[in-house]
């Protein structure tokens, strides 16, 4: 009995670096040995997927605003990759831009990787407009005329010389807009693109922000929503190509379990040692 208590007492004072080690193992292992836990697709993700699915071959393009920064890219980059793959696979077109200065590099690397993989061509299937400061003014300005806000693309080519931009003037020519952001950009798109112009807006945000955006989903101000790595995993499930999202969910499940087991063991140890202390106290 005493030895059990001793063990628990030791366990309560365990060096936190053992916990760190457990977490590290739980993250690294699924990279090599995927568990393949099933991913259940939820309605908000399905709705966004359906909206992208509606884009037509060579028809009016999707406007994808990659507004996340390096800090939140682990959650949001799997989303942009999955959405871009989806768009290119059905030969639809996409205009990429960003509202955040730090989103420039994020957007560029995501789109170039997806384009290379799916064989999409710059200027025909996609183009990258780059960054403009002034969030709400930019969003409102695009509703009037895109070329007023972005006279040229990120590489200095005038929009008039980009084939796919022909006839694309403002939101009227864009059937769907998706914003991926770890800050309030998605709300800004709802306020300044959906509200005044009736633009259909979809969003992808971090898991933490997702519940704050559910009201917009219920009211129809957002056509669909991806929340965190789980949202990305569900989207990957839908396009049938598992990537970092699905893999990430394995690690997520394992670590969540580890934390819960730690909490349970911690409490068990706490009560065992407390009872022991109480008994000892009564004995003397």
């Amino acid at each position: 009995m005493a030895s059990v208590t001793e063990f628990f007492e030791k366990f309560l004072r365990i060096d936190r670096r053992w916990i760190f080690l457990a977490i590290a193992i739980a993250v690294v292992v699924p990279f090599f040995l995927p568990l393949g836990l099933p991913v259940v697709v939820t309605p908000p993700v399905q709705r966004l997927y359906d909206a992208v699915e509606e884009l037509e071959l060579g028809g009016p393009p999707l406007l994808l605003s990659i507004d996340y920064t390096p800090a939140t890219s682990p959650e949001l980059e799997p989303m942009s990759t999955a959405i871009l793959r989806h768009v290119f696979r059905q030969d639809a077109r996409v205009i990429v831009m960003t509202l955040h200065p730090a989103g420039y590099g994020m957007a560029e690397s995501a789109i170039l990787a997806a384009a290379e993989e799916e064989g999409a061509e710059y200027g025909e299937d996609f183009c990258f407009l780059g960054f403009q400061p002034g969030t709400s003014a930019v969003i409102l300005g695009l509703g009037v005329n895109i070329s007023n806000v972005f006279p040229e693309d990120a590489y200095g080519t005038p929009l008039t010389e980009i084939p796919m931009m022909e006839g694309i003037r403002n939101y009227d020519d864009i059937p769907l807009l998706i914003s991926l952001a770890g800050w309030s950009a998605s709300e800004a798109w709802v306020y300044y693109a959906h509200q005044p112009y009736g633009q259909r807006v979809g969003g992808g945000v971090t898991a933490v922000m997702a519940t704050d955006l559910y009201p917009y989903l219920d009211s129809g101000q957002l056509v669909g929503l991806l929340g965190g790595m789980r949202g990305a995993a569900e989207y990957e499930e839908l396009i049938g190509q598992h990537g970092s999202g699905v893999r990430g969910m394995d690690s997520q499940s394992v670590i969540h379990l580890i934390i819960i087991i730690l909490i349970i063991l911690g409490n068990l140890a706490y009560f065992m040692t407390r009872r022991q202390r109480k008994l000892a106290g009564e004995g003397t």
Partner: protein, 279 residues
């Protein structure tokens, strides 16, 4: 070795430097720490200069001097740009002790301006809008969370009764038979409460969700009362408030875990995939 690979390797090594801090403080961490403080401080100095001082002060003022066309500053005259420029320069008076007190002028405008923004918009967004959202009928509408709420309530009744019947009355002394009786009794009471409340809320007679929302809100507000002793009714309400606060905090904590792990996955993926190309 391509240039990108070299840069990625730099990033990867720095990543490892930071992780070494998990073991303990060490020179590698110190290196990364001092480097990132310097680099980021420089980054912000440059970015803020080019995003604010350059377009709003330097260009409007100096292009005119050079005989160029005046750059519109928010649609106004160029000399308007002198005002933020002057205010900005006043900040530096603190380097000259004799006139350092002038440095409080721009700070006064800065602090006061944002204080003013902390009044009217806050009243709307944080007070009135929240009050409006909180004012919903306690009955008459079918309760979307009827089952979950009532299950939770039934469970709560069960736990509370069991607690009072068992824990408060020394189980060992009273014998097992009595404790079993007590558990059964509280289970019946809890389940009974559950069934009755479910029936009522399914028909819209009560909305347990909304009742809990209002009670929780009033309780939390009571907790924040400063100028009265937390006793009697106020004390009881404040106690309810604390319970709601704790459940809320627990929920937020559990809710955030996922995002944080995503970040770690992102870094590991950077090391294993982008850098080492193992996966």
């Amino acid at each position: 070795m391509t240039l990108t690979f070299i840069w990625t390797t730099v990033g990867a090594l720095l990543t490892l430097c930071v992780y070494s801090f998990l073991y303990k403080d060490n020179p590698f961490y110190k290196f990364a720490e001092h480097l990132v403080v310097g680099v980021s401080a420089g980054y912000y100095l440059v970015i803020y200069y080019f995003n604010f001082i350059d377009p709003n002060v330097v260009r409007p003022v100096f292009q005119l001097e050079l005989g160029g066309e005046a750059v519109a500053f928010g649609g106004t005259e160029w000399w308007m740009a002198l005002i933020p420029g002057l205010l900005g320069l006043l900040l530096y008076t603190r380097f000259f002790p004799k006139i350092a007190w002038v440095g409080r002028w721009p700070l006064g405008i800065y602090v006061g301006g944002y204080a003013g923004l902390g009044i009217s918009p806050v009243m709307q967004a944080r007070v009135i809008d929240q009050m409006q959202a909180a004012s919903s009928p306690l009955a008459g509408v079918p309760d979307p969370f009827a089952a979950a709420t009532n299950a939770a309530l039934g469970f709560a009744i069960f736990v509370v009764l069991t607690y009072f019947l068992l824990v408060k009355r020394h189980i060992v002394a009273r014998g097992i038979a009595m404790s079993i009786g007590a558990v059964v009794l509280s289970a019946v009471a809890g389940y009974g409460g559950y069934v009755v409340l479910s029936a009522l809320s399914a028909q819209g007679v009560v909305s347990m969700t909304n009742i809990l929302l209002v009670v929780g809100l009033l309780g939390t507000l009571a907790y924040f009362f400063f100028s009265m002793r937390h006793a009697g009714l106020l004390g009881g309400l404040a106690r309810i408030g604390i319970i709601f606060l704790m459940v809320g905090f627990g929920a937020s904590f559990g809710y955030t875990v996922m995002s944080r792990i995503s970040l770690l996955i992102g870094r590991v993926s950077f090391l294993l995939t982008d850098w080492l190309h193992l996966i």
